[in-house]
């Protein structure tokens, strides 16, 4: 019975989600994340993190287990201090594994005014917690 209920609830819900997702016409590459807890407040563009680019080079476990990024957009408080000290993005963006933090604009490349969150162009808008 419960299963039935889920089936009945799930189906129209999903249609709803898909319809909303589609009408927003989000065109960002699937799984791009915007980090903007403090950047714009402090006069920098929001940060755009591309999953597609990084997962060609690193498995999820590198960032989400070894380096401690929690899997929830907006939930990691990343500061430039952390990055320069070699934590979070700075574990790689240190001039050895990847280019150094002085390339501000490569990370701070987002459109002003974007809220933190996951974006994605193709099938879903990325549910997050909607």
């Amino acid at each position: 019975m419960i299963r039935r209920l889920h089936a009945l609830l799930g189906a129209p819900l999903l249609v709803g989600v898909l319809a909303i997702g589609h009408s927003l016409e989000s065109r960002a590459e699937y799984a791009d994340v915007v980090l903007n807890r403090n950047s714009e407040k402090e006069g920098m563009r929001p940060v755009v993190f591309p999953h597609w680019f990084h997962r060609i080079r690193f498995r999820c476990k590198v960032c989400h287990a070894e380096l401690g990024f929690k899997m929830r957009a907006g939930s990691n408080l990343v500061t430039m201090g952390d990055i320069i000290d070699g934590r979070f993005c700075g574990a790689c963006h240190n001039g050895e594994i990847a280019w150094a933090p002085e390339n501000c604009d490569l990370c701070h490349s987002g459109k002003p005014g974007l809220p933190p969150g996951i974006f994605g162009g193709h099938e879903t808008n990325g549910p997050g917690i909607w």
Partner: protein, 214 residues
């Protein structure tokens, strides 16, 4: 059965969205997240330059990431620290054996090639078959499987990649697994009794390794 109708409506909807997008990646200057006036827009890579060379797919990044990895087309590093253990588990879990949709095969191997056990255990799923009330309703809300599927891994519109095994076949496989486990457990507890007789502590039946087949 009214939900049958919903399901076929989805199938059509999903198919139409998939075809509407396949094979095109948006330019960064038009993607709505990058600032087209920023200095990086000429420096950052256009997704299609990299992704069009990988095994293709219709959803998400339009890349079949599992095939890309297994065929060696990409070689993503498993760790920064070379001494860190790259844990894998080759064990399929079958879910949803009696529902209206085909059963779900959850492959540990495909997941642990990318992910660490701690990405799922124990905060998303207890490592015990049937111990988690997994439901499509919660998945659609971005919980359980939906933490990744619909965000970074292939999206939830791809029903048949999860609902991939006919119910009767999944029921048969699970019955066989359970029979084998019962037999093994009977053997293991015999062993424990013997060891206890000999005065040494046997392995606890509820220890994490009990009944694990590797």
């Amino acid at each position: 059965m009214p939900h049958r109708k919903f399901l076929s409506a989805f199938a059509i909807l999903c198919a139409s969205i998939a075809t509407a997008h396949s094979g095109n990646w948006t330019k960064l200057s038009e993607d709505g997240v990058h600032d087209p006036r920023g200095p990086a827009i000429e420096l950052l890579q256009y997704p299609g330059d990299a992704l069009s060379n990988l095994p293709s797919d219709t959803a998400g990044n339009e890349v079949d990431w599992i095939r890309a990895l297994r065929a060696g087309v990409i070689q993503p590093r498993p760790s920064i620290d070379p001494d860190r253990e790259d844990r894998r588990l080759d064990k399929d879990i079958y879910l949803d054996l009696y529902g209206s949709m085909p059963s779900v095969r959850f492959p540990h191997l495909a997941h642990t090639e990318w992910l660490d056990c701690s990405n799922c255990h124990d905060h998303l799923f207890l490592p015990k078959r049937g111990a988690n009330n997994i439901s499509m309703f919660l998945i659609l809300q971005g919980q359980q499987c939906g933490v990744c599927h619909g965000a970074v891994a292939f999206p939830l519109t791809e029903c048949s990649r999860c609902h991939s095994v006919p119910n009767h076949e999944a029921q048969r496989i699970v019955a066989a697994i359970e029979a084998a486990e019962k037999e093994k457990q009977a053997g293991a507890s015999d062993g424990a009794v013997k060891r206890r007789d000999a005065g040494t502590a046997g392995p606890r039946k509820d220890s994490p390794n009990a009944g694990k087949q590797q």
